[in-house]
Each structure stands twice: as C-alpha cells, then as structure tokens.
C-alpha cells in the first residue's frame, strides 16, 4: 500500500474512473403526478360515475344494514343501502340507497322497491337464500320520468302481465283462499288471485283475480266459478261418507275453479264481475264447451304476434288498461 502522503501527490498510481452521462431527473416529478391522477380517477369513479342516491320510505326496514344491504334487479347487484333513518313522524324508515351508474334507468316513477325476506307459506317457500345472506332490496322498474324518491312496497308486488284478463269475484267468506291462490280450468292453472278485501257494506268479500292472456278466452259472461279449496265431505244414507278434494295443493292453499257452459256466451270483458259459489253443481263439472285457444308452443316468454282472431278478442282493450 502507498503512504497517504504519496497518494495525494502521485495521481498516476491510481486508476481512473470512467465518466458517463446521466439521465435528467425531471421524470421523477411524474411519480407524484401519476399518484394525483390515480386519486382523481378514484374520485371520478366513486362520486361522478355512480348512479343516483334514491330515497325509499319503508314501513318496516328490519333486516336492512347500512353500507351493506344490496339492491338487486334480476339477480344483479345494482346498488347498496347507505343510510337508514326514521322519518320525522317516526312512522316510516327512510332508506337511502346508492344505485350504480348502469342502473340509473331503474329509478323512475312507477318503480317499485320491496324487501325480500325468507317466507314460508302453505304451498310456497320463497327467499330461502336470504336466511343466510340477509335481506336485500329488490326493484321492479317503472316507465315514468326519472325520480329519486319512492315509497317502498310491503312485499313483492304481483308481476304485471300484459294482456291478462282481470276479473272481480264476489263471495260470502274467504275460506282458505289467499293472495296468489290459483285459478284452475279442468285442473290446469290459468290464473291467480291478486288481492281481496271486505266489500264496502261488509257483507262479503271482493276478490280481484287475473286470468292469463292465453286463457282469457275461456272466461265467458255465463261462466261459473266455485271454490275448489278445502275438503268436500258428504254424508249419504246409502253411500256412506264421501270425501273429495280438488288436489292436495288446493287443500292447503285454496283455489278457484271455473267452467263455461257449452252454449258459450260472449267473452268476458276486463273488470267483469262474477259470483264465486261455495260448491259446484255436478252439472257444471261436466260442461264441455269448445273454445279455441292460441297457446304458445313451448316457452311462455316467446311473444306471439297478436292476431285479431277469436282466441284473443280483448287484446286491444287490455293494452289500454295497462297504460293506466
């Protein structure tokens, strides 16, 4: 090793370092710039590209959780419940939910929001998944102008069926009938009960029912409706006891059956009123009218083009009714 003193003077003995050009350092400022751009994008995505904040007033919001409960439509998540608050009169819960940007069109006048809960009824179990995953808010879009304020429905509203025939039935007492009880024609389900209420003079029940579009032609002005639910027990002197039920399902959840006499009357119009008999005359069950139906081949969702034939004589009228 050289002495330190020598080292200072004799530069020749030391190797020389190489010299190379460096890059400029301005590009370092791109890093905080990129970070800021990322933040701007976060803000854009969360506050500008989202859908509207809708307010829904529910009678009962039990099961909903802030920042957790989802809003779903056709199985897809379209939003999230943000806050739950009591209204000023302490009678409703004001639920604020943030819809996603693609779901903006769901918030319209006529849209219905309801809470899906597990439900076990005679004849049907629904919302089974929500036992584990918790309640969620479901939506059915309306077709009015855009709005952000809604009144939540108590339960799932009966699905709209374009072209269905709506009839009213009068009966002395409800019996085993309930909402969504089925209406049968020769044992085939052709419609269902929508809702019922006491008559205004409280002497009977007024029941709204719906017959599906493709079966609407079966209902004539002289059709007879009778209660098909429950057990029919008859005692006779010579034949002993005779027990009959339409089916196990109507035994539990109630049902309505109808038939039309062979000399068919004019087709029933929307809103036609019928009497619902407790029991069918034996003769009614044997009626065999010839009514031509325009039934879809397989899947019910394939829309058949409307034809002005006998099978669908009410098409025009019902279109007007749905616009209400």
């Amino acid at each position: 090793m050289n002495e330190p003193g020598e080292n200072l003077n004799s530069d020749v003995s030391l190797p020389k370092a190489k010299i190379r050009k460096t890059r400029r350092s301005w590009w370092l400022w791109l890093i905080p710039l990129g970070a800021a751009a990322l933040c701007v994008w976060f803000v854009y995505r969360d506050y500008i590209a989202t859908g509207p904040l809708v307010t829904i007033n529910f009678q009962d919001a039990s099961g909903l959780e802030e920042n957790n409960t989802q809003v779903r439509y056709l199985g897809a998540t379209v939003g999230q419940v943000k806050t739950l608050r009591l209204t000023k009169d302490n009678k409703h819960v004001e639920v604020k939910a943030r819809l996603s940007g693609s779901a903006t069109q769901l918030a319209r006048v006529g849209s219905v929001f309801w809470i899906v809960r597990p439900e076990v009824k005679l004849g049907a179990i629904s919302g089974l998944r929500t036992i584990v995953s918790g309640e969620y808010v479901a939506v059915r879009p309306g077709d009015g102008p855009r709005t952000n304020s809604f009144v939540g429905a108590e339960k799932e509203p009966a699905s709209e069926e374009p072209g269905a025939l709506h009839i009213t039935l009068l009966l002395p007492s409800l019996g085993s009938l309930q909402e969504q009880s089925s209406i049968y024609y020769r044992g085939v389900q052709v419609g269902e009960v929508l809702r019922y209420q006491l008559a205004s003079d409280s002497r009977g029940i007024v029941l709204q029912a719906r017959i599906r579009k493709e079966y609407a032609a079966l209902v004539r002005d002289n059709s007879k409706f009778w209660n098909a639910g429950g057990l029919d027990v008859r005692f006779g002197l010579f034949r002993g006891a005779e027990v009959s039920a339409e089916s196990a399902k109507t035994l539990l959840s109630g049902g309505i059956e109808f038939n039309t006499p062979p000399d068919t009357g004019p087709p029933a119009t929307d809103g036609a009123v019928f009497r619902l008999y407790e029991k069918a005359d034996d003769a009614w069950k044997n009626w065999m009218p010839v009514i031509h139906l325009d039934l879809p081949e397989q899947a019910p969702e394939t829309e058949q083009p409307k034809q002005p034939n006998q099978s669908n004589p009410l098409g025009g009228k019902m279109k007007g009714l749905n616009d209400e």
């Binding site: 200072l8 530069d11 190489k18 010299i19 370092l28 890093i31 800021a36 990322l38 976060f42 995953s133």
Partner: protein, 203 residues
C-alpha cells in the same frame, strides 16, 4: 484530495477527473456508480414522499378487504378494522395496527417531506437530524398488515361459501409502502449537515 474517491461497492480507491454537468463516474473495476452523495437524493426523496402522501388518503378511505359470505358483502377499511378491534376489547392489537398502519406511515411521510424541503435551509440541521432519527426508529414497524392480508386472502378462499378479496384500497396501500421505502432508500443522511453551497455540487 477532492478528486480521489473510494468505490462504495468494491472499495477501490480511484481518481475522478472533473466531470461535466449531468455526468456520473463509474468505478473502473466493478462499474458501479462512484458518488460523494447519492445522486438526485433530495428530489427523489421529495417526489417519492409526495406521491406517498397523495396515495395515503385513498389507501385509508378505500376498503382493503372485501369479503363475500353467501352473497353477504362486507368491506373493511383499516380504520373500521381498528374500530371493531377496539369494540372487542383487543386494545393491544388495535393499538399495534393503528401504530403500524396509520400513525407510522403518516409520520414517516411527513418527516421525509420535512427533511427534503428544509434541506437547503441553514440552522435547521438539528431538527433534520432528529427527524431522521425518528424515521429510522419507526421504519421497521411499517405496514405489517399487508403481509397479514396476503396470508388471510390465501387462507379464506373457500369458493362459493366465503371469499376474501383484496379491495380497491390495497393498490394505493402497497404503493404507499413501496414509495416510502424508495424515499428512505434514496435519501442520503450526509446531506443533512452539508452546507448548501456544497450540496449544489451533488445535485
């Protein structure tokens, strides 16, 4: 004396000719950079810690973990996680998570910014030294839970029943980790006591 430099990597003592601006000297033996001070130290520390400061906010606002359990969706930010730990009376763990993931990165970022901004100010040397000491102490305690997260994500992948995914906050979180790391690495503590006119030579 000024033009004789020892290579920091291989230790070879060598002579450096006067350099034009924007050039670096390379060791003749191992080809590593020969420097009196780390190159661009101040501006690197400044930009890295500035970027870390910007990303610090989204990393704490956005959820780190999103869990799906049978369709039940839950998202957790760091702060909410600490809050629920407190409510479960896990004070020690809650304090630890708070210190490592909220307090220490904030202190570190602010400290590095402070040093790199005041580097040319005379009379602030003591404050800079003290700040640097604090940074050195808290450095190993930074952002431990990113690794915890990696482990929990690997463990709780149960298919349809329950899944845990890193949330949108995790990207900015890891970016903060990496940027503070780079900022401390590129800082040369010898600059703290260099007089300003000498510093200009190293920039």
């Amino acid at each position: 004396m000024d033009n004789i430099v020892a290579c920091e990597t291989c230790g070879l003592v060598q002579q450096v000719d006067p350099m034009p601006k924007g050039a670096v000297a390379l060791c003749t033996r191992c080809h590593f950079q020969l420097v009196h001070r780390k190159p661009n130290s101040r501006i690197r520390t400044l930009t890295f810690s500035l970027a870390a400061l910007i990303l610090y906010f989204p990393s704490n606002i956005y959820p780190l973990v999103t869990a799906e359990y049978h369709g039940l969706h839950s998202e957790t930010t760091i702060f909410r996680g600490i809050h629920s730990l407190f409510q479960e009376h896990q004070y020690f763990i809650a304090g630890l998570v708070f210190c490592t993931s909220i307090l220490s990165p904030a202190l570190k970022i602010i400290g590095l910014l402070f040093i790199s901004i005041t580097l040319n100010w005379k009379g602030w040397e003591r404050a800079r030294t003290w700040t640097y000491k604090v940074i050195r102490v808290i450095d190993p305690w930074n952002m431990l839970e990113v690794f915890l997260l990696a482990i929990s994500v690997a463990m709780i992948e149960m298919g349809r029943v329950a899944t845990v995914h890193p949330g949108p906050g995790v990207f900015s979180f890891t970016a903060v980790v990496a940027l503070t790391l780079l900022a401390t690495l590129s800082f040369d503590p010898r600059l703290i006591w260099d007089p300003p006119e000498e510093k200009r030579r190293y920039e």
